[in-house]
């Protein structure tokens, strides 16, 4: 279901849970718990999404069109009928990229102000 093209910048700054979910979906379609596991793994357990938070975010992201439900299902043996799989939309990729760029600028600013120390010894 193609949506009218929208400006990714309107969704910024992106809530951190949503950014983590988008990142988790970049390389594969996943169901809810798999998203939670992926996020926990990639952040070495630093970011734990509770089920409520996770699906609250999924609800908003479905509405904003950054992710969509995937029709595909894996083999019946490892599938559970309650599971639904989600994938990132092209718009979602654009939003994630825009958010990361925004963060990049923020980091650059912080460095210029010497918050993190210099990149090279002076």
């Amino acid at each position: 279901m193609p949506r009218p093209p929208r400006d990714p910048a309107r969704l910024l700054p992106l809530p951190s849970a949503e950014l983590h979910i988008l990142l988790a979906l970049l390389d594969a379609e996943r169901h809810g718990y798999a998203i939670k596991q992926e996020v926990a793994e990639r952040t070495a357990g630093q970011v734990q999404l509770g089920p409520g938070t996770l699906y609250g975010a999924i609800k908003r992201m479905l509405a904003s069109g950054t992710i969509e439900e995937s029709g595909r299902r894996p083999a019946a043996a490892e599938d559970d009928e309650r599971r639904r799989y989600y994938r990132i939309t092209p718009f979602g990729r654009a939003v994630a990229a825009a958010e990361v760029r925004r963060l990049e600028q923020l980091v650059a600013l912080a460095r210029r102000k010497r918050l993190l120390g210099r990149l090279r010894p002076a």
Binding site: K36, P51, T53, L54, Y55, G56, R83
Partner: protein, 896 residues
Amino acid sequence: MSRAEHGYRLLLRLLPAEFRERFGDEIAQCFHEWHQEEHRRMGMRGALRVWRFALADLVATAWREHLAVHAGRSRRADDVNPGDSMGSLIQDVRYALRTLRRSPGLVTVVVLSLALGMGANSLIYSVVNGVVFRPFRFPNAERVVLLGASYPKFGVERRFIETFSAGDYTDVERQSRTLQHAFAFDLGNRNLSGGDRPERVFTAFVWGDPMAATGTRPWLGRGFTREEWLGTAERVALLSHRIWLTRFGGDSSLVGRTIEVDGEPVVVAGILPPELLLVGTDLWLPMGANPSIIPRDTRQWAIGARLAPGVPLDRANAELATIARSTEQAFGRELEGYVGWRLEAAPIAQALTGEYRTAATVLLGAVGLVLLIACANIASLLLARAATRRRELAVRRALGAGRWRLTRQLLTESVILAWAGAAAGLVVAYGLIGPTLSLFPEDIREAGLHVSIDGSVLAYTFVVATLSALIVGAAPAFQATRGSEAGGLVAEGTRLSVGAGGRRLRQGFVVAELALALVLLAGAGLLGRSVARLRSVDPGFDTRDVLTMRLSLPGTKYEREKIAPFFEDLRERLVAVPGVRGVAAGTQYPPVNSFSTRVRLEGDADDGGDAIRTADITNVTTGYFDALGYTILGGRDFDSRDRETSPPVVAINVTAARRFFPGRSAIGLRIRLGEEADAAWAEVVAVVRDARNRGLGVPVEPEVFVPVRQQRAGWNNQLFLLVRASGDPAGLLPAVRRTIAELDPEQPVYMVRTLDTTLAESMSRQRISMILLGVFAAVAVALASVGVYGIMSYTVAERTHEIGIRMSLGAANGDVLRMVLRQSVVLATVGLGLGLAGALAVSRLLSSLVFGISATDPATLGGVALLLLLVATAAALVPAWRASRVSPVEAMRGVA
């Protein structure tokens, strides 16, 4: 669906309907997988972590999503559709939150007192649930039974463990149609090696399939086969889930590998499921023998089974009675124990932790009372508040709000308060579970109980909180919405009064609070005095500074005749250790004897009496009486004369001497121990003072002591080492271990304690009840005194005008003080009278817990009533003093 998921699903109702319908299943699924994974990885701790996290997450989400729904609605339409109940509910909630935010003091008081009340409830419910009502988590645990037997000839009343012979098991297994999957187990300890160090583990020896009976499956591998439990196949073992995790790191390749049990190779056939810990055993071995070869008078097994589908317990018991009668007919002549014996089944939870059942009921009742008191207090507070809000509510009614809508508004407030209190209470309960469990004796704690804030505790708390909200909210809601619209606007004006009706209701609450507090205080007082009496019982031996531990010499290494020399040798070495004042070993020691035997007297017309003579039998090394501080009243102590080859001798206690040889001196007379007809005659060489060998509150049993070198009847390779220290007994442990290692470096010790601990744990039922009831009674008294203070302050404020008039007419300060105090004394007296009636009514419940005192002891009841009267008067003092300081002029001007 797992229990956890079920509980979690209940909580999903906190979420807005639309969101829940779309995502509820997925959220629950996600929780389920997460819970399962953490539980697998980290056991109970992991599961708890998940719960803590998920609860916070859910509450936050519920909050966010409700706000989102509401924001969405306000954007869509400026006015909420009046017929839309969801919309008006949100409005109620928002309104309630706004109102409550305006009175932070009230909210704090209410939430804190509810946190106390609810916390106590959640705590006791989770402990009682885990220890008494549902200690076992296998499916339909109430249909899994243990068989109990009573042997009137032995004076044994309904015992479950170490009770049956192998033949009894075969009878039940073959004949019963009402029981399925009958199994039998004997208990013991085995040295387990393979892993990092040898360890002594609690072991069950099994016939039959307990997993089938409990409806569980092995976590890994398989259960025992018939050939294995009959001993015709290679030796195998099952390990408990917890020992598999802690000792073998949860390594799944363990199944099929060989480990060593008492130095012999055994193949691990499987891992037991985590929920199946048969009375706390970590190692299961097949019995490895055919029951038919074991004599009928060897009674050391417990029998369990599952009720056949559709069979109620009493039908199974009727059938068991028939089986018992046919056994009696077949064997009663040669084995007298079977004469008049009874056989009955009880649900396994009742059989194993049944002794705590009364205490559990009492405590559940007690926390219920605490919560009721808290509720009465809060209701009284809210009632006062409702009075101040009458005007507001009247305005709303005048503007068209229905009475139902206003009531719902007020109830919404109390529900929010109650849930906040419940949440705080859960935190309190969570923090107190550990300390509470530490009150229980070790065998209960280590039996693999499942005590935690789980789904059922959450559900319970949720229900209790909602009920409390209704109790607390009903009266104020009713009071505040009563009467005509105009009445509230016109008549109330600026006066802050709920009128006579409201005051009487509040006084009623205070009376109820005092009554309930008295019931609790009476219970705590009775138990306190019982424990004090138990403590003052003379145990008959010296319990101070004695270190105790158990050693089991493996039969493969120590033949029967090597056991006594080992312990005598160890004794001689230990006596030389600095700080040791006395050493001995014995098969048991007071106050927890468990071995007894049959006694026959020389010159007795054999066994004419109704009951067989029995006595506790204790095999002891030399120095036993000295180490435990027994007084030898006549005759001589055992010494080096009493050898394997010398004529058999025994010592007996005073109770045995009186019962067996009334009116005679027992010294020099002869007795015979055990069932065998050709047992040797043993001469009584000493009579020792009675020691409480079956518990402090229990009459002393006759006891016979046999030198360990001469042990014949019931020889034993497991002895307790008893070391009396000249200072701190625990400090001796390293030296004792070193000395044992000098004799045999591979010999483990276990059950290391002190005699004082054992003695304290023998009173644990009373002690736990006393401590918890004491704490609850204290909370109750505190709450009730706050209640008295509240009502008296309120009354004084309301009567300021009247007091002013009285004083201007000549009443002195003292008169006013007395008047107010008199009123509180009247209230207190009514409350205490009702409370005394209540205490008498529940005294029957307590009678099995009290010791040495009647459950209706007048001194205790009178004492606590007096105490409560003093507390109530003290609570009224401040308001009374304030009343006596009223300035007549101010009073009459201010309120006019």
